[in-house]
């Protein structure tokens, strides 16, 4: 049994002081129900997640107490992806016909301050100032630039593209283009990455209604099919965030593994994808994830990005809604935002940020602490 996405809803990302994270989640859920033409009482199950805005299952207080199983998912940056996999399997197994996936969040300003103990690391690691995701991303791209000749100008061009795409997306947080010069000369945060090369914690919500594929046209004239949803954790030897040490022999990270599994599940390859949403916690991540997901060889990003290939009109459009860089990262909602964007793209409803050429296949990828990755492939 295939699985279709028949309803999508979003609460704009950014800062909304007047609404709690939960209320933003309810807003997105109501839009998703409306989009599918169903009522909350028609929904048979839900999976959802929020890291900083309370338990996702309290959404039932806002939407109505109908007695459905609503399972909370907490898997860091892969929370949305993990919810989606769970819903995918619940429908594929034949247990349910229609359900909802919800993700919302509302974070404080400034960098995330992770607790070492929660990740099984000694307190000393945080005390000396190494419990910082930004350091990991900086050290990974520093090594990558050294090994594959990526320039600092290319780093800035990734941010420039993100803010251009954000300016075209009414739901994005950062909606003003910023020049390459301003990006490159903004405050250095973790060398070689400046302030405008990082995304920030933010707020937002996304909900999706999913159903069995043979029921899809009851709810939508433009159903989009979930051909693959995979999630992987790190293997021994991959270079990951929050690692006090690392093996001398390196292996591929969870992104590579999740991508391979997804292509195998969907029976398609990287060359078949028409639009890509790749985790861009900062610009280096987007660059490295292009190769880790199989869309180019390591080092080819320099020429591709300089030639504009990752822009909306390019050969390999990446983060067409502005990505994390322009939307910020409400962790519980971030992975589902990518799926929302790809559904818009495949329906041809992305407006100013629509990729040309009638896209058929679309790809999403998230990566996060402590070394996890989730991928989806959507087809219309």
């Amino acid at each position: 049994m295939d699985v279709a996405i028949v309803g999508i809803g979003i609460h704009p990302f950014g800062r909304t002081p007047s609404l709690t994270g939960l209320q933003q989640g309810a807003y997105a859920s109501r839009l998703a129900l409306q989009d599918a033409g169903v009522e909350w009482r028609d929904i048979q199950f839900a999976f959802g997640g929020s890291i900083s805005a309370g338990s996702a299952d309290t959404l039932v207080n806002e939407l109505g107490l109908t007695g459905i199983p609503f399972i909370n998912v907490a898997n860091g940056c892969a929370t949305g992806g993990s919810s989606l996999i769970s819903a995918f399997n619940a429908i594929k197994s034949g247990q349910y016909d229609i359900g909802m996936v919800a993700g919302f969040d509302k974070h404080d300003r400034g960098a995330f301050n992770a607790d070492p103990k929660a990740l099984g690391i000694g307190e000393w690691y945080g005390e000396v100032g190494m419990m910082m995701t930004t350091q990991f991303f900086a050290m990974k791209i520093q090594k990558y630039m050294h090994d594959y000749n990526i320039s600092t100008d290319t780093l800035a061009k990734v941010s420039e593209k993100a803010f251009i795409n954000g300016s075209k997306n009414p739901n994005a947080w950062r909606r003003e283009p910023i020049s390459v010069e301003e990006i490159a000369s903004s405050m250095m945060v973790n060398d070689p990455l400046t302030k405008y090369m990082f995304c920030s914690p933010s707020e937002g919500a996304v909900s999706l209604v999913l159903c069995r594929a043979d029921h899809a046209t009851r709810y939508s004239n433009t159903p989009v099919y979930l051909k693959a949803a995979t999630m992987k954790s790190r293997r021994f030897g991959s270079f990951e965030v929050f690692a006090p040490s690392q093996a001398l022999q390196q292996v591929d990270g969870p992104t590579v593994d999740a991508a391979k599994a997804a292509f195998e599940m969907a029976g398609v390859g990287p060359g078949d994808m028409d639009v890509l949403q790749l985790q861009d916690t900062e610009v280096g991540a987007e660059i490295m994830h292009m190769a880790e997901n199989g869309f180019c060889e390591h080092g080819e990003q320099e020429a591709l990005i300089q030639a504009g290939a990752t822009h909306i009109g390019g050969a390999m459009p990446v983060n067409t809604d502005g990505g994390c860089l322009a939307n910020g990262e409400p962790i519980g909602a971030s992975g589902l935002r990518q799926v929302y964007e790809n559904v818009l793209q495949l329906r041809g409803q992305a407006g100013e940020h629509q990729v040309p050429g009638d896209p058929k296949l679309a790809y999403t990828h998230v990566y996060g602490a402590p070394g996890i990755s989730a991928v989806t492939i959507l087809q219309k």
Binding site: D115, P116, E127, V128, A247, L248
Partner: protein
């Protein structure tokens, strides 16, 4: 009298004439891990022995922390006295790549592949006067 205490027990030998970082090495697969663990992340083996790591290695990658981190960061600095610090992974031959703070914070003086020594020095002073010792990586003179 000032007492010097390690930032965590079991991270490195202290006090010692020549302090060294401590790793566990798996007797089954030979993989080393820092800090020392009770089981092996590579092969799931539980037969591990603690050993001292070499005191010199090469810088594998690095960055500079330009702003003062929030809690759980715990130094004696304030927003006014904070100085940017380097962080890097040092590849220790035959062992592992260990993440640590660098004594150097000038990006012009750091490059991948440079030799560095593991050194031990005070990181902060506790209210009772104890000096808390941490390990740092220092460019070879």
């Amino acid at each position: 009298m000032t007492k010097q205490v390690p930032i965590a027990e079991g991270l490195f030998t202290w006090p010692a004439e020549r302090p060294a970082l401590l790793a566990s090495r798996c007797k089954n697969c030979g993989i080393a891990s820092f800090p020392a663990a009770q089981s092996c992340m590579a092969c799931s083996g539980q037969d591990v022995a603690v050993e001292e790591l070499p005191g010199r290695g090469t810088l594998w990658t690095w960055t500079i922390q330009q702003f003062m981190p929030k809690t759980p960061y715990r130094s004696n600095e304030t927003a006014e006295t904070f100085k940017p610090y380097g962080v890097g992974y040092l590849e220790l031959p035959g062992g592992v790549r260990v993440e640590g703070r660098l004594t150097e914070n000038d990006p012009q003086k750091l490059h991948i592949g440079m030799e560095m020594d593991v050194v031990f020095a005070p990181f902060r002073t506790e209210e009772n006067g104890d000096e808390v010792i941490n390990f740092f990586f220092q460019p070879v003179a």
